[in-house]
């Protein structure tokens, strides 16, 4: 394989693989957000709210 093609392939595929691995690892290692402890912080309301200006 041509050296320039090999360098390009390894650089691009390596970067993509590393970024994919890094972000997925971060997803696995990030602890879930704590549930809100007050009514005003609770975002689980199922109704539609009027638009703010």
């Amino acid at each position: 394989m041509e050296t320039s093609a090999l360098i390009m392939m390894i650089t691009v595929q390596g970067t993509v693989t590393l970024l994919t691995g890094y972000f997925f690892y971060k997803v696995l290692k990030t602890p879930p957000k704590p549930k809100p402890d007050s009514f005003s912080e609770n975002d689980d309301y199922p109704i539609r709210k009027p638009l703010e200006d």
């Binding site: 394989m1 093609a5 693989t17 997925f24 971060k26 997803v27 990030t30 975002d43």
Partner: protein, 549 residues
């Protein structure tokens, strides 16, 4: 609108489902073929630039819009868009986010059913000992309407019904019980099958089957850096189109999935994780399978002259046979199984905007929503099966799988970055983020991405004959008018210089089938728009919304 019934079971499940939505047939077929058609190494740099400047910002936009909509109980684009602006017409733009999925899934499920049929035929050993002409002929026969007992492609129809039934069954199980479970099974299997095939492609080398039958030549062609593509407008358009297609942006599926995320939860890291996972499958696995293996046995010249979407079906079984009868079966199952899993995870995503819309706006149950969805898809898909050779399949792909995506993506990025406002939009994207989103994306979303998409749209609108912009420009400036390509949107709409003839000698022409399929698509759009109108009235009666305009 109503009580939120659906939820994601786990964050990993969400990422796999979202990546599964993006990872589809395009990763393994469209990307390598587009790369070959656009000069290999010439294509890769514009493609990567488009991914960074257009793909990633659009992912942030769609995840942000989705979670914002979910905060108010909206799970489909008509009301997600409606909730972001005071202008009422935006909800009708949101119809694209349901309509596109119907149009795409109608032909996409048909392709999916081919992969299922080919898995079955591979297991049966149908392709063992076939030469390339026989393999190619087998496919033509499979989709030929005149091949059945009473002039119907029964086998194709049967596999299509089974594939559609699988999709409906999974959809009826809901998000965590159906879609998420399917993604958790399909995505790892897809990665294993893909890695196995990619390893085979990477390790093939020179097979000696012909003078230029060397897989290394394929890698040289695909990866040799060539900066000529940077000055070629067509290459940029093709690269941008591929980024659209591969990330499933502009369809309304990402918004729908993201609308089931709790508002306090992250979307930035999720978007990056799912987006890069798709790129891994496309750039690392997709680029290392079909083209290198085909070059290994058919030669570089043959592949450059014959590269096309149907290569997966018309050549791969023959190529696997070169490794022996057992390998023919094993690799056939791996390759078509991989395509099937890639297809299913995407088609399930296409079903969810409708499910979300009917469940939350009309209080339909999952089963009812899924069955009605299946019936509509079956009706829309029948013409693509029965009149495949007349171009109905390609017509669906053109209007729903290409034009609609660009139109909707352009509309949503303008809405999010300009009308909703870039500052509010940025707050939405970064709210609860588990990573620090580079501030440059704020600039991209406001300026670069809309301009990029606008250029793509204009490029498709007035695409010149043979993609030769120089000749078309010279013709225009010399007073002879713009020379449109037959594939340009304007030519497709107005058929410059062509007569529309529906019947010849008492028989319908190809134009008749094309126009009828367009009518069907228009009626589908109108039907969904009417449902949105009814849903809107129901909302006004139930919960009056006080806008200050």
């Amino acid at each position: 609108m109503t009580e939120v019934k659906e939820n994601w079971g786990s964050r990993v499940g969400l990422i796999l489902a979202m990546a599964g939505n993006a990872v589809g047939l395009g990763n393994f077929l469209r990307f390598p073929i587009k790369a070959v058609q656009n000069g290999g190494g010439e294509f890769i740099i514009p493609y990567l630039v488009c991914f960074l400047l257009m793909g990633l910002p659009l992912l942030f936009v769609e995840w942000g819009m989705g979670r914002y909509g979910g905060k108010f109980g909206d799970h489909s684009t008509p009301f997600i868009l409606d909730n972001m602006t005071k202008r009422k017409f935006w909800k009708y733009f949101g119809v694209f986010g349901i309509f596109t999925n119907f149009g795409v899934i109608a032909y996409y499920t048909y392709i999916e059913s081919w992969t299922l049929a080919y898995v079955w035929e591979s297991i049966k050993g149908t392709f063992i000992g076939m030469d390339i002409n026989n393999v190619s002929h087998y496919f033509d026969q499979y989709v030929d309407i005149n091949d059945g007992v009473i002039n119907l492609p029964w086998k194709a129809l049967g596999f299509f019904v089974v594939t559609l039934a699988i999709n409906i069954w999974i959809l009826s199980k809901g998000l965590s019980g159906g879609v998420e479970k399917a993604a958790k099974i399909a995505m790892p299997l897809l990665l294993i099958f893909g890695a196995f095939l990619a390893f085979k492609g990477l390790s093939m080398g020179n097979t000696g089957a012909c003078a230029d039958c060397d897989a290394t030549m394929a890698f040289n062609f695909l990866w040799e850096p060539n900066f000529n593509g940077l000055w070629n407008f067509k290459t940029w358009l093709e690269a941008a189109g591929q980024v659209f297609f591969t990330l499933s942006v502009g369809m309304g599926t990402i918004q729908c999935y993201a609308s089931y995320i709790k508002y306090r939860d992250d979307i930035a890291l999720n978007a990056m994780s799912a987006g890069w996972m798709n790129e891994f499958v496309e750039i690392v696995l997709g680029a290392s399978v079909v083209i290198p293996i085909a070059v290994g046995y058919l030669g570089m010249e043959w592949v450059q002259n014959n590269a096309g979407f149907m290569m997966a079906f018309k050549t791969m079984p023959y190529l696997f046979d070169q490794w022996g009868a057992v390998s023919n079966v094993i690799f056939g199952v791996f390759w078509f199984g991989l395509l099937f899993f890639a297809g299913v995870t995407s088609s399930l995503a296409m079903g969810t905007p409708w499910m979300g819309f009917m469940e939350h706006e009309f209080e339909w149950g999952r089963k009812k929503s899924a069955i009605v969805f299946g019936i509509i898809v079956f009706i829309l898909a029948l013409p693509t099966i029965l009149f495949f050779q007349q171009g109905v399949f390609d017509e669906y792909d053109y209007w729903t799988g290409t034009v609609s995506l660009v139109v909707f993506a352009l509309a949503e990025v303008i809405l999010f970055g300009w009308i909703f406002g870039i500052d509010k939009a940025w707050k939405e994207i970064t709210h609860g983020a588990d990573i620090r989103v580079p501030i440059i994306f704020k600039f991209f979303i406001k300026w670069v991405t809309p301009i990029f998409i606008m250029l793509v749209f204009i490029g498709a609108l007035i695409k010149p004959k043979n993609d030769d912009w120089g000749i078309a420009w010279n013709s225009l400036t010399s007073g002879n008018g713009w020379i449109f390509d037959k594939g340009s949107i304007l030519h497709q709409l107005f058929r410059f210089g062509e007569k529309t003839i529906w019947f010849e000698n008492g028989h319908p022409t190809g134009t008749f089938f094309i126009d009828m399929s367009r009518l069907l698509l228009v009626l589908t759009f109108a039907g969904i728009a009417y449902l949105v109108h009814i849903a809107s009235k129901r909302r006004e009666n139930k919960i009056p919304i006080e806008h200050n305009d």
